[in-house]
Subunit: 249 residues, 2 copies
DNA sequence: CACGCGCTTTGATCTGGGTCAAAGACGGCT
DNA sequence: AGCCGTCTTTGACCCAGATCAAAGCGCGTG
């Protein structure tokens, strides 16, 4: 695991409130999206006390499948991909994580997948044991985590439907719409939508090859359903047609 | 939703112990596998008080995707498949559930998938609201559910790897080994392993067609890796070779 | 115990997406 | 501004698995 730049942890800035929201969590722009959403100031202070902040640049490994899962993470900025490998190098990207997402749910004592940054990324990191202790003290946090796990399971099943039964065109249309929906949820532009990952990453996520991904983008462009813009932005010119192709809501 | 035969709920049988384990849960042969595993007698009594027992015969619908998810279930006997459909009828089976498995984790207010019995099945049914209340009273149950959700997520990712990147032969080998491992966990025969679901169900689970599933079984049989026996039993004659093909542990 | 129906197997052929190859295009760096 | 390495696109061909078709095979039923 490559070592990230640690920014250490900033203390509260001495306000009058006895359980003042500490600086780092107070400054968190994505709290409402995270596992921390339901926490009161006291709980938030406890979270702040055990979290460390880290920055990874693009393309860095965060952890590998099989490693002891000593840390869990909250993504606060950027994009991460998680993936599994077969012995001969075939790769399946099982998810992309964005600001607000929790990283590490599917791991027992060892990580069930590898994680790598797609763009520059900031995370809050927790020691597993310390987080477990916190979950016991603040049941609302554990309950929130269970809700998040449920959503991830539903998403996983949607992805199985895509991988098992959809055509290349349907996969790309679904992918773009999901990306757009998630961007909207996170308060980023839903259209044009930012597609920060490479064709290879998209292919490995959708169970296709880069060539097929590229050809399919071209086809959708030719048919006037999307436009490829500068800076990896994709305009969804005909959302209705895309949704009809994708059969995803 | 078809109506199952309700057996009602049996009361405790009046032993001296003030929190005697009530009859139905006491008789539960799969408790150690379920969400109820970590519960003490008091908690178990509370579970028993809100659970109703139901029997479904083979091929019955339990609920459909999109329905309000008023109930959650514990499978105590038999096999269930859960699946999602596309508008034109393409189907993806996203999981098979066996005795001990919890059904309903991935659902918010509506079920994220349909559920149907494969064999005759017995379940414990909970009203969502009542179970939620119990989870608040007994955090060890909530914690257990979170662990279960984590396992399901890891399993889902393994399945994405299968659907996105494995060949037909690798898929069948993986499927048989996972089925065998789960049978062992549940205390059933791991070899020969019981394969209760139809070729169509297997195909829809593995992202293949019935024809390909059938041909692949035949090929594995011809190569001496498996034997198809009476009563849907499959002997895994060469587990090592199967594991090498599957790259699954 | 013969009949019929649904499931499974096998065969012949087709095709969506993979593979192999090469030409653009886009930065980043000097 | 020009060069180089990487990523993306396009083209030609191929193949694993889908599709279409037709026997087998069990098993429940009268």
């Amino acid at each position: 695991m490559t070592m990230p730049t640690s920014e250490g942890r900033r203390e509260g800035d001495g306000l009058l409130d006895p359980v003042a929201i500490p600086q780092a969590c107070a400054a968190c722009g994505v709290r409402s999206l995270t596992v921390c959403a339901p926490l009161d100031n006291q709980a938030l202070a406890a979270v702040d006390a055990i979290a460390t902040r880290h920055t990874f640049e693009a393309g860095q490994n965060i952890f590998d499948e099989g490693e002891p899962s000593n840390h869990l993470f909250n993504v606060t900025r950027g994009t991460i991909k998680i993936y599994k490998l077969l012995a001969d190098g075939r790769r399946q990207v099982t998810g992309f994580l964005f600001a607000g997402d929790f990283l590490g749910l599917a791991s027992d004592s060892a990580y069930a997948y590898s994680a790598e940054t797609v763009t520059e990324t900031k995370v809050c990191r927790f020691r597993r044991g310390q987080l477990d202790e916190l979950l016991q003290r603040f049941p609302q946090m554990e309950r929130r985590l269970l809700v998040i796990a449920g959503h991830e399971l539903a998403e996983a099943q949607e992805q199985m439907l895509l991988l098992g039964r959809k055509t290349a065109k349907e996969r790309i249309a679904s992918f773009l719409l999901v990306l757009s929906r998630r961007a909207k949820q996170a308060g980023r532009s839903e259209d044009p939508v930012h597609v920060p990952m490479s064709r290879t990453d998209i292919a490995d996520y959708l169970g296709l090859t880069t060539e097929t991904v590229s050809r399919t983008f071209t086809k959708l462009k030719t048919e006037g359903l999307i436009q490829l813009q500068a800076g990896n932005m994709v305009a969804l010119s005909d959302r209705v047609a895309l949704a009809e192709i994708a059969e995803t809501d």
